[in-house]
């Protein structure tokens, strides 16, 4: 009896804790959970995107994805060309009430660039920083570097005292078996703070009433719920259990659009989907590798019916692409964005000329949890290559299983999607994918190719402060990619969000990142 009373008392208390009036709490059904509450512990765009609601960088992207001041109000490059001076915003407080100063910026930069930090690649040029006064900080780089501001949009600023108090000055160190305090606690300056978190179930964010900026949203908070099954996500949206999803399955868009309670937001993502080839001596099976031959790659390209994939698999929602970056990305040019005609016989002739034998068997590595409808378009392409007389061995598995094989060069043909995040510049794929594998360059050059001419262009662009000249250098580099068919671009993938009618405003961004500080609920928006 007493236990019963106790139970009901608890229930009553929690009921009381909830305000009597309906609030603007947005239920966000995502296709996955964030990896951690520590934005430095997981080099993953989605995690960083969600945590951007809690933590902020010195600069940020505005509604048009141009860079605008955030925690820094202005900046300049000093005479030595490698030191940047940032003036910081005054009167900003963290969620725990501490004031934001230059010390916090320095502690954060030290933490993110620490050698055990998984995110140190996101700030490649950083060398050191110096606090000038409470609201001025100097950042020194390893050379002239045009893209520092782009990098800084995604370097979130921590409270130094909070890090020190909680022994969290260093990034989470899994190897030592110690969990970081920041892994499941958060303290930023952003528009929301973390109320509670249950990994893989829900994370509750509540509005920060003391945010330094004028809120454009009218939310009282939002709840992030990972709903991994696409069908369940659709069902939950239709039944109103979630208000928003940033991943509405393409095949369900007609049904969602037809539902009176749901609005679909569609666009084309910046992410370009590509197919990569191995350039090594032998295939994973040990057989000689024919793909280093340009003619073979061209034949493979011609045998893919890009428009058919666009129409059927992507349901007309993708944008067929000929270039490796999307049109809004600096460095894109229309003359590189052309596709060859689908020509099976021509492709067969090319293969024959190149001396590729009928029934050539190779691995085709795809992810089951990667790009939009990846499993389907991989199957379709495998089927098209089969008609070419080849024998692709389709290998579809989760990223966790495939990544080691891809980075280790233990597979042959593979898929790759690149959105140029967080840089939003064509320099990003050039240095990370197409440059030869050396040091921090060519990290995603899984096919092991090397084009010295291309490398030289990319390196020159990396030190060029003049925008025009830099983009011309990058354009020249992309022309080599196009001519050589180093990778085959397929399309920019569709991006589909869906909201229920309770959400009145939800701006869709081409980088596919929800920014709920622009969202509004109810009819007052």
């Amino acid at each position: 009896m007493t236990l019963r009373h106790y139970l009901f008392a608890t229930a009553a208390v929690s009921a009381l804790a909830l305000p009597a009036q309906a609030q603007n709490i947005l239920d966000w059904g995502a296709n996955r959970d964030i990896g951690s509450l520590d934005p430095y512990s997981f080099g993953d765009s989605f995690t960083i995107n969600v945590l951007n609601h809690v933590y902020e960088g010195l600069v940020r992207y505005d509604r048009d994805l141009t860079i605008e001041p955030a925690l820094a109000t202005s900046w300049e490059i000093l005479d030595d060309q490698v030191t940047w001076r940032f003036t910081l915003r005054e009167g900003v407080t963290f969620h725990n009430g501490n004031a934001f100063t230059a010390e916090d910026v320095q502690a954060s930069l030290t933490r993110v660039s620490h050698e055990t930090s998984p995110l140190k690649g996101n700030l490649p040029a950083y060398v050191s920083s110096e606090v000038v006064d409470d609201y001025t900080i100097d950042i020194t780089l390893n050379g002239t570097y045009p893209l520092l501001l782009n990098d800084l949009t995604n370097i979130h600023i921590f409270d130094r005292d909070w890090l020190v108090e909680n022994n969290a000055e260093l990034p989470t160190d899994i190897g030592a078996g110690v969990e970081g305090y920041a892994t499941y606690n958060a303290n930023g300056t952003g528009p929301f703070f973390v109320e509670s978190r249950q990994p893989e179930a829900q994370t509750v964010f509540t509005v920060n009433p003391d945010w330094w900026d004028e809120p454009q949203h009218n939310l009282d908070g939002f709840v992030l719920r990972p709903v991994t099954s696409p069908a369940t996500r659709v069902a939950a949206l239709l039944s109103g259990e979630i208000d928003f999803t940033n991943d509405a399955p393409v095949q369900d868009l007609p049904r969602l659009a037809a539902a009176p309670t749901v609005n679909v937001l569609e666009g084309v993502d910046l992410r370009t989907v590509m197919i990569g080839f191995p350039f090594r001596e032998t295939l994973a099976s040990g057989a000689p590798n024919p793909f280093a031959d340009r003619a073979v790659r061209e034949a493979m390209y011609k045998a893919i019916d890009l428009n058919l994939i666009h129409e059927r698999i992507m349901r007309g929602k993708s944008r067929v692409a000929g270039a490796v970056v999307a049109p809004p990305i600096p460095g894109y040019s229309e003359d590189l964005d052309t596709i060859p005609e689908y020509d099976l016989d021509g492709a067969k002739a090319l293969l024959e000329e190149a001396g590729v034998s009928e029934g050539l068997s190779f691995e085709f590595n795809c992810l089951s949890d990667g790009l939009v409808n990846e499993e389907q378009f991989c199957q379709a392409i495998a089927s098209m290559w089969s008609r070419l007389g080849l024998a692709p061995q389709l290998d579809v598995a989760p990223r966790a299983v495939q990544s080691p094989k891809r980075t280790g060069g233990q597979t042959d043909v593979y898929t790759l999607g690149w959105a140029t995040l967080p840089m939003l510049d064509s320099y990003s794929p050039l240095i990370q994918i197409f440059h030869s594998k050396e040091g921090n360059s060519g990290v995603f050059n899984w096919g092991d190719w090397s084009y010295p001419e291309l490398d030289a262009l990319v390196q020159a662009a990396g030190q060029e402060l003049d925008l025009e000249t830099r983009l011309q250098l990058q354009n020249d580099a992309m022309r080599i990619i196009k001519d050589e068919h180093i990778m085959i671009p397929l399309h920019q993938q569709p991006m589909a969000w869906a909201v229920t009618t309770s959400v009145s405003e939800m701006p869709l961004f081409p980088d596919n990142k929800p920014r709920l500080w622009f969202a509004r609920m109810g009819s007052d928006g």
Binding site: L7, F8, T10, A11, S14, G35, S36, D38, S41, F42, G43, P118, L119, K120, G121, T172, I174, G175, A176, G177, E179, G180, T183, Y184, Q198, P199, E200, A201, Q202, R225, V227, T228, S229, A231, T232, A235, A236, L238, S239, E241, D369, P398, R399, A400, V401, S403, P404, T407, G408, N440, V443, F444
Partner: protein
């Protein structure tokens, strides 16, 4: 009795040690934890260093002993994916799975026992035959198909019940329960029915078989002869005799239900241990997989041992060795 108890406990400990060995063996050969943990841009030297720190270069036996020692203390390490203590992750998910299994078990008893008695008592009636046939359909429908159909009917078409998740939960200490809120209870309905489908038919068939035997005993015949009303004989006297096997079955099936809940949890995105496990399989999150396997096996072994010991306590003849080995036959 004490000797028997010790023997059974030692046996259970041996089994757990073997399960630990299997878990360890499997997970040593599955995926590469280093590749999971490092940033894609890490150099070979960084990878090698992490490998060394994780102790992946140690001898096989050393690693196994370390694994068991830590496991006994409830330490399964840090999840590669969430970077959180695995036991904390599992403890957070435990209430969700337990409530689901509990409710499914209750449903299976409340529905299964009356159906079993009915089909036994009226065993030549058309309705009983039809029910018997339906029960075969019950074991033949894959539980994921049942789940999909329930969602299609009650969530999408009718919009009566939620299609995923646990609804609102209330924390009582470290236990989070969905039973105290309307949305929590509503969220429980479809998954519990989907999980219980198989179990209902199991209970129903067992009760039917036991009832048929009991109804033939002299004891029941005498009761009828003494003029005890038919319904009373069936539902009180006879049923009481069948309860022991039903309780045993229910106890032993709890382990199976916990494991099978992973299918239900996948279909309904129920935030329990099973969903955690399936996600861990997807992401090759080895510590979580190891901990789940060990925990579920542990529950299994404990339940089996309890049942054995209880039986031996009730019936001393079973304390001899051969019978005990047979008794574990779940």
């Amino acid at each position: 009795m004490i000797a028997f108890l010790l023997k059974r406990t030692a046996n259970a400990a041996f089994v757990m040690l073997a399960v630990a060995f299997l878990a360890f063996l499997i997970f040593r050969s599955f995926g590469d934890p280093v590749e999971m943990m490092v940033n894609e841009q890490a150099t070979q030297a960084e990878r090698a260093e992490l490998r060394e720190r994780l102790g992946l270069n140690d001898g096989f036996l050393t690693q196994y002993i370390r694994f068991v020692t830590n496991a006994v203390q409830g330490d399964f390490g840090i999840s590669y994916r969430n970077q959180q203590d695995v036991m904390v992750l599992i403890a957070e998910r435990l209430p969700a799975t337990f409530e689901l299994v509990l409710v499914a078990t209750v449903i299976s008893l409340v529905v299964g026992i009356p159906l079993g008695v009915f089909t036994a008592v009226h065993r030549n009636s058309r309705l009983a035959d039809a029910l018997q046939l339906t029960s075969i359909v019950g074991v033949s429908l894959p539980s994921f198909v049942v789940g999909i159909l329930l969602i299609l009917a009650f969530s999408v078409t009718l919009g009566w019940l939620p299609a995923f998740g646990r609804g609102e939960t209330v924390d009582i200490g470290w236990w989070s329960t969905g039973l105290l809120t309307p949305s929590g209870r509503a969220a429980l309905v479809l998954p519990a029915i989907s999980l219980a489908t198989f179990q209902i038919t199991l209970v129903m068939r067992l009760v039917r078989a036991e009832m048929l035997e009991t109804l033939r005993t002299d004891y029941v015949k005498f009761a009828r002869a003494r003029g005890v009303p038919r319904a009373r004989v069936h539902w009180i006297h006879a049923l009481r005799n069948c309860l022991m096997p039903v309780i045993t079955l229910t106890g032993m099936q709890i382990g199976n239900l916990i494991a099978f809940a992973l299918v239900t949890e996948t279909v309904f995105q129920w935030p329990g241990m099973g969903l955690l496990f399936i996600q861990a399989v997807t992401f090759v999150d080895i510590p979580v997989m190891a901990a789940y396997l060990m925990l579920v096996s542990f529950i299994f072994v404990v339940l089996n041992t309890i049942v054995d010991v209880t039986y031996a306590w009730v019936d001393p003849r079973l304390r001899d060795d051969t019978a005990a080995a047979g008794g574990a036959n779940g």
